[in-house]
Structures are given as C-alpha cells and as structure tokens.
C-alpha cells in the first residue's frame, strides 16, 4: 500500500473513531462501516483501529474473525448470502446454489475475479415462509428458483453498471 493511501485510510479511520467514540463499545459500529466502505477490514485497518481505541490489535482481529458479516479477505461489491437452513433447504436451496455457482463461476466462500460478487452460505435469514431466500447486501430476495438467479445477478450488474465506482450498499430497496 502506498504511504499516501495509508495516510488517507488512517484519516478516514480517525474520522470514524471521532464519529462513534473511542471506547471499546464503538468497535463494532466502526468495523461495520469499514466493511461497508471497503468490502473488507484489512490488517492495516485493524491495527489503526486498535491504536485509536487503545486495545491490542489481536482483540480487533478476534472480533473480525468471529462475525460472519465482517471479513479480512476482500469481498465483492455484492455479497450474496444464500440461506441454507432447514425450510430453505426443503424448498430447494441446493438447486439455487448450483445455479448461482454456474452463473458466477465461483464456489461458496469465493469472490469473482472482477471483484463484483462474493458468494456465501447464510444461516436462517428469517424468510422461512418464502424460501429459498437470499440476501444481496441489504436486499432480500425470496422464493428464488434456479431460473430467477440470472435475473437477480443482472439486476445487480445493471443497477451499478460496469464502470460504477460506488458501492451497492448505499442502495436501499
């Protein structure tokens, strides 16, 4: 990472620490916002955050590694989480999973090379009466079938276009 880039990132994190406060209970909101903006929480970010909150970097890392919505590895602009819990399973989530993998060309836990999509399993999204369900960033899709998968992905691609620079997360349904 370039020194100037590090400086800029550091400034941004200082801004977040000022916004949420420098006590330990601000850690989660800070991490959540970093994840949203940068699609990851890098080692460097963790160190700076630890420094700002006056805790050991290992403490920050232990929190990041605990929660499934926080990632050290870079995630795509669109994080797709397919529910694998019982009723979505009964409603045919395996077929949706297969089609997602086919259309994206990646397996679960991976990110497409263009950095657009990440694919993950999720545990119960709370849409059990309308399964199979999947979450794309903050947006929920229900009664998803294999033939609907393409449409969901196209919606993501079209909403933000190939040259879009902003994150999909700012979009609310």
């Amino acid at each position: 990472m370039l020194v100037t880039e590090r400086e800029r990132l550091r400034e941004e994190l200082v801004g977040l620490a000022d916004k949420y406060g420098r006590q330990r209970s601000s850690l989660m909101p800070i991490l959540e916002e970093v994840q949203q903006r940068h699609f990851r929480i890098s080692e460097y970010c963790m160190q700076v955050i630890a420094d700002l909150l006056d805790i050991h970097p290992v403490e920050v890392h232990s929190v990041v590694s605990f929660y499934s919505f926080l990632n050290e590895k870079p995630q795509g602009q669109f994080v797709i989480r397919l529910c694998r819990t019982i009723t979505c399973d009964m409603a045919g989530k395996e077929h949706v999973a297969r089609q997602l993998q086919n259309d994206l060309g990646i397996s679960f836990g991976e990110t497409t090379p263009d950095g657009k999509f990440s694919l993950h399993w999720a545990n119960c999204l709370g849409m059990c009466d309308q399964g199979p369900a999947l979450l794309v960033n903050d947006r929920i899709f229900t009664r998803v079938t294999p033939e609907k998968v393409h449409g969901v992905l196209e919606q993501c691609r079209q909403t933000f276009g190939t040259h879009a620079t902003h994150s999909g997360r700012e979009h609310r349904p």
Partner: protein, 398 residues
C-alpha cells in the same frame, strides 16, 4: 377460544399506539410492575422467564445508569415473527421499551438488530425520529418531568449466539459474542456492568397490550402457567405458512389444522434448538409447561427424510457454536458425523447409544443455551424415528 389469525389480523393491530404508554404513565412504576406481574407475562423469546421478575430485580438495583435492551437478533431457524412485528408494529416495541425504562429507571435503550435484517433499519430509524418529534422519546417523555429516555439501534454482524442475552451484551461492548457465566445476571451486571433488562421484541409489544387492556384481559387467554397469546412463525410443508397468533396452550393438531398441515409426520417446535414432535404426540400443547417455543413451527410432510432434518440442524450448530466450551464445540461436530454415518448405513446401535449419551452430556455440560439445546433435535429424531434412520443402504428412501 379464538384460533389462529394470520398476519394483519394480529392483536397488535387493534391496540392504538400510545394507549399503553399513557396508561403506564398514569400509574406509579411499582403499580405498572404489579400489573405485569398479575398478567403472568413470560419471555416470548422462548426461555419463558417471568418479565415482571426480571424488571423488578433491575428496578431494585441501585445504579447511575441502567439500560433497556430489545433483543432483535431473531436467528432461530424457522422464526420470523419479530421481522413482522418490527415491520408493522415497531411503535409497540419502542413503547414497550419506554414502559420498561420507566419501571426500572433507565434512560438508555438499545435495539440489537441482526445484520440480516439491516433493510429494516431505515424504517426503524424513521419511527424513532417520529417518536422523538412527538415527545414519546427524548427528554421529559410525554411531559413527565424527569423521565428521559431514548433508543438507539445497534447492528449485529451475523452470529446466532448473540441472541443469548449475555453474548448480546458482549457484542454490544465490542467483543466476540461469547456468552458469559451467569451469575452475575444482566439485571445487576449487564451492559457496561450496569443493570440491564434484555427482552424479546414480542415481549415488549405484549407489555403495551397489557397496559392498554389490563392484566385480566391477558390472563383470560392461554393456560394457567402460560397466559396470553403468542405469535408463531409457521413454515415448511403446509398450505398456508406465515405468522399466526394463538393463545398459549393450543395443541399442535389445532395449529396444524389452521395452517393446512394436517398430513405432517412431524413438527419441529422451537426451531433448531427446540424438539421434534412426531404425529403420535400432536395432542401435546404449546406452552411453557409442555412444549415450549420462541415461536418457530416447522412442519415436515410424510415424504421428508428426518435424518436430513437432523443433519441440517447440526450443520447449523457446528457453524454457529462460538467455540468457547468443549461440549458444544466438539459435541455438535461429533453428532453431525454420526448423522453422516447413519445416512451411509454405517452406524451400530452401540455407537448410536454413545451419540445419544454425548447429546445428554452436551445438554448438561455446555455453558449456554446454544450448546445445551444443540442436541435436542437430534435426540428427539433418534427417539421417534428410529425405524427410519437405522439400517440404511446408503440410497435415499423415497
């Protein structure tokens, strides 16, 4: 007895916003507590702890700061009634929190909203803002001198275990969501070491109804030990899945009839951490004293492979165990392996008995409710469907 009503016809839609809070503010906090105590309201998250007792203990603890926390980390498989309450009746939830704040003397409220429900946040923030403008939150709430209370929303980050109240508090404090040893309980040593009440979304909404219509109204429904109504999230093999409201003490058969699931061979009551009830026991009642639930009802039709069901639940627990204590972390993985062996038809009766004994150890020795209830589904499926799971040839029976 009025039977189930679907979404949109819930009791919550009949209570006028503001009525409960106004009634509560006319009374002294101690009298509010007495009213809730007489209603016999018990925690709607599933554990069934008496709400008035929790609030009373927190009220009696002296402290500068106290907290009211709404547990909106609805992660139990098959549960989605809190999503409906937060979408359609958010005012009731905040109103219930405000009543709780007045009873225990808290000025700060937090809604811990699961990350999977992030799309509800703008609506909840807007509702909070509207309430602040109407002086239902903020300083001198409803013109009551010295009664200050406000609520903020705190997001979870995808961890089922954070539905456990001490893990939830750990998460709020910026730690891994690992449950604490209890005691001390949150009522005296909660968020930031201060007295804290943590209640389910639905519990807060019922408090408002009790305030509006009185404890007698609430008690006149349900059973002696489990009074009032309860919301159920019904999913699986039935004609009409969705959110239903039933009085406590309804039988599983009654419920199945209402949702169009009469042909079920089994019902999972209480989600992954609940128990699997086979058709022979459909006359059992859903109540704290018989089959308790936080509201999750999953219906399994005659063609379902119960071993797949057990395997799915165990996969869930292996993934969601926080890893802190050995019985839960290792036990769930061992049981999952056992299910795979059963699926391949490679499990002896002796080994199955060992697995069941391991399950019982988990129930006894795990630190929190997650580990203690992780083997429930497996054990009840082994008990009721032994003929279906033993001696498989490796091919699916269908």
């Amino acid at each position: 007895m009025t039977m189930g009503t679907k979404t949109g016809e819930l009791t919550f839609s009949r209570v006028e916003p503001g009525m409960g809070l106004a009634a509560a503010l006319r009374k002294a906090p101690a009298d509010v507590l007495t009213e809730i105590s007489r209603s016999n309201l018990r925690g709607r998250g599933g554990a069934g702890f008496p709400t008035s007792l929790k609030w009373d203990l927190a009220a009696k603890t002296e402290a500068e700061r106290k907290y009211v926390i709404c547990n909106a980390d609805e992660g139990e498989p098959g549960t989605f009634k809190d999503r409906i309450i937060l979408s359609d009746y958010a005012d009731l939830v905040f109103e219930g929190m405000t009543i709780g704040a007045r009873v225990i003397g808290a000025r700060y409220g937090i809604v811990y909203l699961r990350a999977e429900y992030a799309y509800l946040r703008p609506h909840l923030e807007a509702t909070l803002q509207r309430r602040r403008e109407a002086n239902l939150l903020g300083q001198n709430v409803c013109g009551q001198e010295g009664f200050d209370f406000d609520v903020e929303i705190h997001m979870g980050a995808g961890a089922y275990v954070c539905g456990e109240e001490t893990a939830l508090i750990e998460s709020l404090e910026g730690h891994r969501g690992e449950p604490r040893n209890r005691p001390p309980f949150p009522i005296d040593t909660g968020y930031l070491g201060q007295p804290t009440i943590v209640n389910n979304v639905e519990t807060f909404a019922w408090v408002v109804c009790i305030m509006a219509w009185g404890a007698e109204w609430f008690r006149s429904h349900g059973t002696g030990k489990s009074s009032g109504y309860k919301l159920f999230s019904v999913s699986g093999d039935c004609a009409r899945p969705g959110v239903y409201e039933f009085p406590m003490g309804a039988t599983i058969a009654q419920l199945l009839k209402e949702v169009g699931g009469e042909h079920a061979k089994a019902v999972q009551v209480g989600g992954a951490s609940g128990q699997c009830v086979s058709a022979a026991q459909f006359d059992r009642t859903i109540a704290y004293e018989d089959v308790p639930t936080g509201g999750s009802i999953i219906v399994f039709g005659p063609h379902r492979d119960m071993l797949d069901v057990a395997g799915n639940f165990l996969e869930f627990f292996v993934d969601e165990s926080c890893g802190q204590c050995t019985p839960c972390r290792e036990g769930a993985a061992k049981l999952q392996e056992g299910v795979e062996m059963l699926k391949r038809g490679k499990c002896s009766m002796a080994y199955l008995n060992e697995l069941c004994s391991l399950g019982e150890t988990m129930q006894l020795a795990s630190k929190c409710g997650l580990g203690q209830s992780a083997p429930n589904a497996f054990l009840s499926i082994v008990k009721h469907f032994q003929d279906e799971i033993l001696g498989r040839t490796g091919k699916k029976r269908r």
